[in-house]
């Protein structure tokens, strides 16, 4: 864009122009909202142009305007919001159960060598299996579709959090643990006052990564097995050949993922006041 403005400008000395444009751009990027807006608008323009210029393979994409209209239509329909609701519930259930089971297991494996020796081999055997690979078994195994999707989102969050918590526990400084022991801390004190807060940064990291994986698994599961949900909605738009609606689905999924991971981040910051930037 800056190049266009240079060539369109009246004949001034090129060096002066360069300095001037850089100065102007710099001033814009100094503010935070503006670069964001420029980036998004630039993307929309590129999108629009790639269709009008009929770039190879890209000409079938609907215009931004069509997607916008389709989104506007969807927002007015209750079925669209029902998809949101279903997906959010599925993510919430699987993710929460994942944390409730995973955090204690990670803490236990981090704290006790015996428990780690007993659990870790099986854990490491199952962990490399991509969560999506669990879909067929899950459908067969669980009596209802809903349960199998809960299970899959659980898998998505579970392995990530266990691994992070375990690593978090072992990353606690030895001298910090020793200080607590010398000061007379009981085993209970060590667990609740040292190990849990000490591994909290890793727990939050595990949750942030986990919520992303959970959405990945959910969308795949919904496309294959589900009734309703944002993933299913997108898949149905595909089977109906409704291109703008496919994009509406994609944008919605992205937005939903963004909201949930922001939520996790905010909760994490609230839980760790000592990590605030001072």
């Amino acid at each position: 864009m800056s190049q266009t403005s240079v060539s369109a400008a009246p004949p001034i000395h090129p060096a002066a122009v360069a300095v001037k444009t850089r100065g102007a751009l710099y001033q814009l990027t100094e503010r935070k909202a503006l670069p964001g807006a420029i980036s998004i608008i630039g993307f929309l323009i590129a999108w629009q142009l790639s269709i009008t210029w009929e770039l190879p393979y890209l000409s079938n994409i609907p215009y931004p305007k069509d997607v916008w209209d389709s989104l506007y239509e969807s927002v007015l329909k209750s079925s669209y919001w029902n998809d949101w609701k279903m997906s959010l519930i599925r993510v919430f259930v699987g993710f929460t159960v994942g944390q409730v089971v995973g955090i204690p297991l990670g803490l236990a494996m981090g704290a006790s060598k015996t428990i780690k020796a007993l659990c870790f081999p099986v854990f490491e055997m199952l962990r490399p299996i991509p969560p999506i690979a669990w879909i067929p078994l899950s459908i067969l195994f669980w009596p209802t579709e809903e349960l199998s999707i809960y299970f899959l989102t659980f898998i998505g969050a579970f392995f990530v959090i266990v691994l992070n918590v375990m690593q978090g526990v072992s990353s606690i400084d030895l001298s910090v643990k020793r200080a607590a022991i010398s000061l007379g801390a009981s085993r209970k004190d060590i667990f609740f006052k040292i190990m849990i807060p000490g591994s909290l940064p890793s727990i939050v990291t595990g949750m942030t990564v986990g919520i992303g994986v959970t959405w990945n698994v959910l969308i795949a599961a919904e496309m294959i097995a589900g009734h309703g949900g944002l993933g299913r909605g997108t898949w149905e738009a595909y089977t109906n050949g409704n291109l703008p609606l496919i994009l509406v689905g994609m944008v919605s999924i992205g937005f939903a993922g963004y909201i949930t991971s922001s939520l996790v981040r905010v909760i994490g910051e609230k839980a760790m006041p000592w990590r605030r930037k001072f």
């Binding site: 020793r178 006052k193 807060p197």
Partner: protein
């Protein structure tokens, strides 16, 4: 205020040996070490890296047990960590997730004191170390010197028999370091709390110590015990006195020899002490 420690904290190491394993090779770390840390005195431990200072601290604190020999405090054998022997570690070991107040109150809380007593004790010790206005801050919000003071407070509030300070002022800038030395000496003069102080800096050692114990490089044995009969309370001007210089000159040769041994063994960490010694001899 901290109460006067009634001559407790008499630590005796009797024929203590300790090995550790490195690459499956057994290395003798402390070799039949017999040391006495007299109560109510400030004993400084010096020696090149690899002389087993840290091992000795871990043994006295009760984090590890000796292979042979025994360690007693006031006649009782040390078998496990306890709040009669508290360590202030090299790098800060404050609990980052607790405010200064909660850090200091950790010991009293663990002991199960009444809420009112905990508050009273903690606030009074925070005042002693000059952190009363920072009690609601987290450790990361404090400067290096303040963190060390908070750490001292966290130990002192438990009225330990022995304070074990493992290079406590390492990493502080020169000015803060001197202030902290002065601060601890003042505290020591008021309480006469038995102190084992580990340092690499000879000036710091002589300035603070009643006795300086120099250990040899691998395995750790006692090389020399130097008495420092300088009068207390001490002021920094003491370093200009003839007595101080005599002790300094007596000691630096021995230290240099041990550091050289470590250096010849390619122990990179010995650079620490050599640099510090070199700085000293450049000054004088």
């Amino acid at each position: 205020m901290v109460e006067k420690a009634a001559d407790k904290g008499h630590v005796v190491l009797n024929n203590v040996s300790k090995c550790f394993f490195e690459d499956e090779k057994k290395i003798l770390c402390l070799d039949q070490l017999s040391i006495e840390i007299p109560p109510g005195q400030l004993t400084v431990l010096m020696g090149p890296s690899g002389c087993g200072k840290t091992s000795m601290i871990n043994l006295i604190a009760g984090y590890e047990t000796p292979d042979t020999g025994s360690i007693t405090i006031d006649g009782e054998k040390i078998t496990e960590p306890g709040h009669d022997r508290l360590v202030v570690f090299q790098e800060t070991a404050l609990f980052p997730w607790m405010t200064v107040f909660n850090n200091v109150a950790f010991g009293p809380k663990a002991k199960g004191l009444a809420e009112k007593d905990i508050k009273e004790k903690t606030e009074s010790i925070l005042e002693t170390v000059g952190l009363q206005d920072f009690q609601d801050k987290y450790p990361t919000q404090l400067s290096g010197g303040m963190q060390r003071r908070a750490e001292l407070a966290r130990a002192l509030v438990n009225e330990p028999s022995v304070m074990i300070l493992d290079e406590p002022f390492r990493g502080l800038d020169a000015m803060t370091r001197e202030l902290m030395q002065e601060f601890y000496l003042k505290l020591f003069d008021e309480t006469k709390i038995t102190t084992l102080f580990v340092t690499h800096e000879l000036e710091e050692a002589i300035f603070m110590a009643d006795t300086v114990i120099i250990l040899t490089y691998k395995p750790g044995r006692v090389r020399k015990v130097v008495k420092v009969p300088l009068e207390r309370p001490r002021h920094f001007s003491v370093s200009a006195s003839k007595e101080y210089m005599d002790i300094f000159n007596d000691t630096i040769e021995i230290l240099f020899e041990e550091a050289k041994k470590a250096f010849d063994h390619d122990d990179a960490s010995s650079l620490d002490i050599i640099q510090s010694l070199k700085r000293n001899s450049d000054d004088s």
